[in-house]
């Protein structure tokens, strides 16, 4: 007698006796309330129910959901319930579960929006977030103006720490990535150039590509993933912990205290990192060239001959711009962060996405401008 079971029996006076027996355990096979409900609306109509649990050997929440379901049905149909046949524990739990009526307006209404209204609300959201972006740029500019006037409040120790974190500690990853990018560029190039017997031009190709564009872009993308995400997560966590509130109520502007040193650290560190990435990329190319029989001195001479200062300055300028963009998008998403752990994750993700998009757009704009200026 271990299977959970129910037996229904009509008593005189249209009373339905429900016998519950066996072991009622969640996850095991327990009877569904369907049969009972069917019996309740069967003819002639039932006027009351009673319970008998003599054969019940074990029960848990499974019996409660079963009984609550039946009782709800009885209340709807106006059927009297006599619950003294149930074990005391079951009775008390059911009383508790039904003591507070379901709060109807507490249920969040899930309205199926039409496509039109979804498009509309997305558009409104877009306009709003553009507004936020512009105002963030504005308050950052004010903070920079106050910095120039010498009125900005932040800790110089913070700035040095951030410079170390964003600059020096990024050197290994920047070395690896830019060396490999130079190497890949050279490989792809040399195979094509070989067909014309012009493999020595690989030096021109790699050095111009690295110094003018790829060094800055790769460093920018590394920084978006490394530093931009870190900024967003740091500031998001501070938002969650009310640390930013604590600054504001001390009348210390978080824009000056948190955003300014971060933007400064990355913007200052980007050009040197880009310069270093350029060098590593050219060296990566040299290694491939050596494999194809081009001597190092020849390679370097060609590379130096191909480059001019415009290439270098454009690359460094792009690095500077990317530094501003990546640090600002990290800080912006951090400041916009909500007050939960998942919001911090979203802020970090969104900071990386915003940073990379900004880098690509800025590269396009700078390239077009250089093209128009003829440099």
């Amino acid at each position: 007698m271990n299977e959970a079971a129910i037996h229904l029996k009509r008593l005189p006076g249209e009373i339905l006796a429900i016998h519950l027996a066996g072991k009622w355990q969640l996850g095991k096979d327990v009877p569904s309330s369907e049969n009972v409900r069917a019996e309740l609306i069967a003819r002639p109509p039932v006027r009351g129910i009673v319970f008998n649990t003599d054969g019940l050997s074990f029960w848990d929440s499974s019996i409660l959901t079963f009984l609550v379901d039946i009782m709800k049905h009885c209340v709807e149909e106006g059927i009297k319930i006599k619950s003294d046949g149930l074990p005391t524990g079951v009775r008390q739990l059911i009383d508790l579960a039904t003591a507070v009526p379901k709060k109807e307006d507490a249920q969040k209404s899930v309205v199926d929006e039409s496509v039109l209204s979804r498009v509309g609300s997305e558009a409104i959201q877009f306009v709003k977030s553009t507004g936020e972006l512009i105002s963030f740029v504005g308050v950052t500019s004010i903070a920079i103006a106050r910095l120039i006037q010498g009125k900005a409040r932040f800790l110089s120790s913070d700035l040095w720490l951030l410079i170390q974190e964003t600059g020096i500690q990024a050197v290994p990853i920047v070395s690896l990535i830019s060396f490999l990018v130079g190497l890949i560029l050279a490989f792809v190039g040399i195979l094509q150039l070989q067909m014309f017997g012009a493999q020595v031009y690989v030096a021109d190709m790699v050095s111009i590509a690295m110094v003018r564009e790829m060094g800055a872009i790769m460093t920018g993308i590394i920084m978006a993933g490394r530093t931009g995400a870190a900024y967003a997560a740091q500031m998001g966590t501070m938002q969650v912990n009310e640390e930013i509130d604590a600054l504001e109520t001390l009348a210390i502007s978080p824009m000056e205290f948190l955003v300014l040193p971060r933007v400064m650290a990355l913007t200052l560190m980007m050009p040197p990192l880009v310069l270093y990435a350029d060098l590593m990329g050219v060296l990566g190319g040299a290694m491939v060239a050596r494999l194809y029989g081009i001597r190092l001195t020849v390679y370097l001479n060609r590379a130096i001959g191909a480059l001019n200062l415009y290439h270098l300055f454009i690359g460094l300028f792009m690095g500077f711009v990317f530094g501003v963009l990546v640090s600002m998008s990290g800080c912006l998403r951090g400041m916009q962060c909500g007050r939960s752990a998942s919001e911090v994750g979203n802020a970090a993700t969104s900071a990386v996405v915003t940073g990379i998009v900004a880098i690509i757009v800025a590269t396009a704009v700078i390239t077009v401008i250089c093209n128009i200026l003829g440099i």
């Binding site: 912990n241 009310e242 640390e243 604590a246 109520t249 001390l250 009348a251």
Partner: protein
Amino acid sequence: MDKIETHITISDLTMAYGDFVLMRELNFTINRGDIFIIMGGSGCGKSTLLRHMVGLKVPAKGKVFYGGISLWDAGSEERAQLMRRFGILYQSGALWSSMTLAENVALPLQQYTDLSDQEIAAQVSLKLALVGLSGFEEFYPSEISGGMRKRAGLARAMALDPEVLFFDEPSAGLDPVSAKRLDDLILQLRDSLGATVVVVTHELSSIFAIGNNSVFLDPETRTMIAAGDPNLLLRENNDPRIQNFLTRGQAEGTLI
């Protein structure tokens, strides 16, 4: 307290998140030296009211006056001046997690005073000693317990000898003995510093032990339904919602 002087006035304040009105028509005054309790059931907007009072959230309507100056109409410089006189203990302490306790307490002093490093260090030790944390100067917030974080938060709130101390649920998450000690500390600080204290809490023992003025927020009607000394409210106010709250539901005899 020889003469009663109005310190903070809330006038016709409406709090809202977007279109959703949380509370409307709040009117009350807090006297200098009061320990003022903001009470009400969970989620009724107590902490939000605090955020309006300390300058973190702009009211949808109405004003908050500090000794005649309207917080939200003052220029940014004047508002900053006012806010510098506040000390706030946040629910979780809100210590800056990248700084040691000493640096946390020192930051407001570095920013707003001309004290030398030695003088600041002395102040920091004093403030930490007042909350029973001397010797913990070089600990980071993550290295100490929740109760200690709260006390360290209080030390930081007191760094600039504030005129108004705000507490957001000071005893939440504390064991009864620590909660009682914090209550005693609040009373001592009020008496010795002469500060006005505003406390958000629903801890009945604290309400009766320290409060001498209060406001009761009711989420159903979305406004305040009573103000005054909580002990008097318990004796003289016959509103069942207030009686129910102040007697842990004994007045109605049901489980809420």
